[in-house]
């Protein structure tokens, strides 16, 4: 596993500009804070994502056990064991970390000038040795946030900080209240750093079980959840790992956050996810350390990076109906999700499909279904043809040094087998694709109440002047109502998808991971035309693994049952159910928190992976769209994050309203 010349050249260039950038970091030290460092990082001149996409946490185990100074010294020490580019690689790492410890020493100097003894001592220590106390470890966390340039995924913070907290408690250096104050400041800093920008990727993953099956929720887990319930922050995004032995206290805190209506606190089910990861070849000790990225992707905390691509399984329906062509009434320009962004033309990931023959000639449903699978497979092949990473943009050294075996074996992480990168392919909108298939099966082939030419004409005209056909389509069976006939199709398609995707390998030989997710659901609604389920162009489309908004009328238990028929445990890159519980349905019940906890627990028992449960007030959303000035602080879930409703683009607002109406 040599490091190529092009790679080392690229690293050199990035290291130069990174070192220059380090000098621009403001030496902010303030008497009102426990921790040193500015809230924001300076601008970086080239697009920083080339060398670090920020979608995965740093290897904090390594970072906290060696410290900045330890990594600096290990890089130099180990460089003597290697030759050529590998030696050069470690020497460059040494240089980066020398610059970092130098920077931290300058923080110490400023603190000394300002007579801030505590901060001086901490920074001085961290410039020379690993962190030893809880406060020092928190300081490392904050420096890492600033040093990483962009806002990024944080990972299992409660687990990594806990040994320091426990050590301090034993020595009598700290109590829970003091620790809570420091944590509260850390949360506040993430909030400021995120600056209400929405999709900042700043996700923390709390709790979970270890490989002995023991609950790892600790004092800090509870402290963070309690603080989050008390503050009104958007950042960091809170996610909790739950399992069969999770405590009542944990569930109470989770449901308290969910009831707050801010769309926060996503649940990850340890049992299903860990088993799934092991099945995909991740070693046990790695699998137990999973956490999540900004879009609820399941990633491995401290083991390599992640990246994703996506295809659209609703588009594949269109491709079958129109023999590989699109059927869009018009092209639409849209914002990403916030109303302050630029308008860009929305496009399906794969616009043109294969030629699978004339729909009019497909004489039975199996023929149609076969053509559909062909179109879907075609999209997968197009998307996964190119490998995920390349020599061109190696991982930035600051980040790379925290990954397994990088310092010890002088290996660049992208080709490093012990890293276990998470590369995945998503399909979203499965619910809408399945509804379309069900409508075609039911209306055209089984009941024969609609003819193929009529359906095509109605779709080509976006149902305009075909209201009867649209109603017929809308009344066909729908996914999310615990109806086996429809749900089985979802099971079948998801199963095929998983098999096809995992046949592809990444550069370290690991399978690509499938996931049922699509963060761009509101764009998809405009990148695919009218669909046979009666949905017209632009109307809300199913997000992730959730039913199409407005079509699940049998309540949340039916939705969970439908979704959990799919083997989501093998959709291991993430398969999020976005479940809305109308606030009105819980009104007057004795223990609403217990009710939603029970829903979540059944979801887990049935093998569900990721549940994003929201208690929503439909009326409030309608009001907020009419009178935005009165609802400035109304937060709603977007995809992997919550955002202020009134700042969402019009299309995204409409989607959020449509999904709230679903029940």
């Amino acid at each position: 596993m040599k490091i190529s010349d092009t790679l080392i050249e690229s690293i050199k260039k990035d290291t130069e500009s990174y070192s220059a950038w380090l000098k621009k970091i403001k030496l902010t030290v303030d008497k009102d804070y426990f921790l040193a460092g500015p809230f924001a990082s300076p601008e970086y001149k080239s697009w920083p994502r080339y060398h670090d996409n920020f979608h995965y946490p740093l290897g904090m185990r390594k970072m906290l056990s060696l410290g900045f100074a330890g990594i600096r010294d290990a890089a130099l020490r180990n460089s003597h064991n290697f030759k050529g580019n590998q030696r050069e690689y470690l020497l460059l790492t040494h240089e980066v970390y020398k610059n970092i410890t130098g920077l931290i020493a300058r923080f110490a100097a400023v603190a000394k000038d300002k007579n801030l003894g505590d901060i001086y001592r901490i920074c001085n220590n961290l410039s020379r040795r690993p962190p030893k106390t809880f406060q020092e470890a928190c300081q490392v966390y904050w420096f890492c946030a600033v040093l990483r340039i962009g806002t990024s995924t944080i990972g299992r913070i409660d687990q990594h900080l806990y040994p320091f907290y426990k050590g301090d408690r034993k020595k009598g250096l700290i109590d829970l209240d003091k620790a809570k104050l420091i944590i509260a400041e850390l949360l506040y800093r993430f909030e400021k750093r995120g600056a209400a920008k929405g999709d900042t990727l700043q996700n923390i993953t709390l709790g979970g079980k270890n490989s002995y099956g023991e609950d790892e929720a600790n004092d800090l887990t509870y402290a963070i959840l309690e603080l989050a319930a008390g503050n009104k922050y958007v950042e960091p995004k809170i996610n909790v790992r739950v399992h069969q032995n999770s405590s009542k206290r944990l569930w109470n805190l989770i449901t308290e956050l969910q009831m707050s209506g801010r769309g926060i606190c996503t649940i990850f089910n340890d049992e299903a996810i860990i088993n799934g990861l092991i099945k995909y070849g991740r070693p046990k000790e790695v699998a137990y350390n999973y956490c999540n990225d900004g879009c609820s992707e399941i990633i491995l905390d401290g083991f390599g990076e992640t990246w994703f691509r996506y295809i659209d399984c609703v588009k594949a329906i269109e491709h079958v109906l129109f023999n590989g062509e699109e059927n869009l009434p018009k092209r639409k320009k849209m914002q990403y999700y916030s109303k302050n962004e630029d308008y860009l033309e929305v496009k399906a990931p794969v616009q043109k499909g294969q030629k699978t023959g004339d729909f009019l000639m497909m004489n039975d449903f199996p023929a149609f279904y076969r053509a559909y699978l062909k179109q879907l497979k075609y999209q997968i092949d197009i998307m996964l043809r190119e490998p995920y990473n390349s020599d061109k943009y190696p991982m930035r050294l600051f980040t790379a040094a925290t990954m397994p075996d990088v310092l010890e074996k002088a290996r660049e992480p992208y080709a490093n087998k012990s890293c276990y990168h998470t590369y995945g392919l998503f399909i979203g909108s499965l619910g809408t694709a399945v509804n379309s298939l069900a409508a075609i099966k039911y209306l055209i082939y089984d009941k024969k109440i609609l003819t193929k030419p009529k359906l095509l004409t109605a779709l080509q005209n976006n149902f305009e002047s075909y209201p009867l056909i649209q109603k017929l389509c809308q009344q066909a069976p729908k996914f999310g109502n615990d109806d086996d006939l429809v749900d089985k199709m979802a099971v079948g398609i998801a199963g095929k998808f998983a098999v096809w995707v995992r046949a592809y390998k990444d550069s370290t030989g690991q399978p690509i991971l499938p996931g049922l997710y699509n963060h761009l659901f509101h764009h998809t609604a405009y990148s695919v035309g009218a669909t046979p389920d009666g949905r017209d162009f632009g109307s809300a489309i199913g997000e992730h693994i959730s039913p199409t908004p407005g079509t699940a009328f049998s309540g949340p238990t039916a939705i969970i049952n439908s979704v959990c028929k799919i083997n989501v445990g093998e959709q291991i890159f993430g398969s999020t159910l976005h479940l809305n519980i109308p606030v009105t349905s819980l009104k007057g019940t004795a223990n609403p928190q217990d009710i939603i906890a029970d829903l979540a627990k059944v979801f887990c028992l049935k093998g569900g992976c990721v549940l994003n449960l929201n208690v929503l007030d439909y009326q409030k959303l309608i009001e907020a769209q009419k009178h935005p000035e009165k609802y400035k602080d109304l937060l709603v879930r977007v995809w992997g994050f919550s955002y202020y409703f009134v700042n969402l683009s019009k299309e995204m607002q409409d989607h959020v309203i449509a999904r709230a109406k679903a029940l």
Partner: protein, 272 residues
């Protein structure tokens, strides 16, 4: 055995403890002027009109021999003369017209109810039989409750109490909780607003209490009718003197019902 069912409601949170499935049975011997589920009063199926589904094709206007439908920019449905021939339902292409109840076997219902067993087990929920007056179809209820009990489901019966004592005794062994409606203690008022006297109801209530059955009393709070202070006091006194531990729930009036009367082509009975 088959029963007449108007609706099966999953994730029902207000008809007993925990997460439940509520089965609404058709038929009720009382005619409360404020009835919230008018589609459940009559024993036979009726035509139900869903304006939201209607596409305005007017096929119903043409097909109805009794002229129950008229067109005035939208469909107007008046069921007074309806003979339940079902022609309109057969002819409606948009499923805007449907029977208000369906004949289902106890196994059909069990199959539906068992889908949420895990939710019941975790939340302490189960199956609720409501109506109408579920015990008006006592044979069917008995079979259903027995089967459900053998599968370990918690069973709640939501009853008006206006049922033969024998029916109550028959179902009792399978029931974990009775939600028991008490509207008036005054016999005359009861007759006036529900069409029947209340001796049977109060007697049945006393029987359940005597046998130490778990009962929660539900009082529908209807403005100007049941909500008078003296009525509410009398109900409270009556219950507390039998057993002070019995819980009383006051159920506020549901405005949704006005829509429902329209669907049935009827006018509301009470002037509210």
């Amino acid at each position: 055995m088959n029963g007449f069912i108007t609706k099966i409601q999953r994730f029902s949170l207000h008809d007993g403890p925990g997460i439940r499935t509520t089965v609404f049975l058709k038929g009720c011997p009382l005619t409360c002027v404020w009835c919230q589920n008018p589609e459940t009063i009559a024993e036979c199926p009726e035509v139900l009109f869903l304006n939201a589904h209607c596409i305005g094709c007017r096929k119903c206007v043409k097909s109805c021999p009794k002229k129950c439908f008229s067109w005035d920019n939208q469909i107007k449905f008046n069921s007074v003369n309806c003979n339940r021939c079902g022609l309109c339902i057969d002819n409606c292409p948009a499923e805007a017209l449907n029977w208000s109840s369906h004949e289902l076997s106890s196994d059909d219902i069990i199959r539906e109810a068992i889908k949420d067993k895990l939710y019941y087990d975790l939340s302490g929920g189960g199956l609720t039989l409501s109506g109408g007056e579920p015990l008006a179809q006592i044979g069917f209820c008995y079979e259903l409750a027995k089967k459900a009990k053998s599968l370990g489901l918690h069973i709640t019966i939501d009853t008006s109490g206006y049922v033969p004592r024998a029916a109550l005794e028959k179902i009792m062994p399978f029931v974990d909780l009775f939600l028991f409606d008490i509207k008036f203690v005054d016999r005359r008022l009861h007759q006036k607003y529900t069409g029947q006297p209340n001796d049977l109801i109060l007697g049945n209530f006393q029987l359940l209490c005597k046998l130490k059955k778990l009962v929660i009393v539900r009082v529908p709070v209807i403005t100007g009718i049941t909500d008078r202070q003296d009525n509410l006091f009398r109900i409270n006194d009556f219950i507390k003197q039998i057993d002070p531990a019995i819980k009383i729930d006051y159920i506020p009036f549901n405005a949704l019902m006005l829509e429902k009367y329209k669907m049935l082509g009827k006018t509301v009975l009470a002037k509210i």
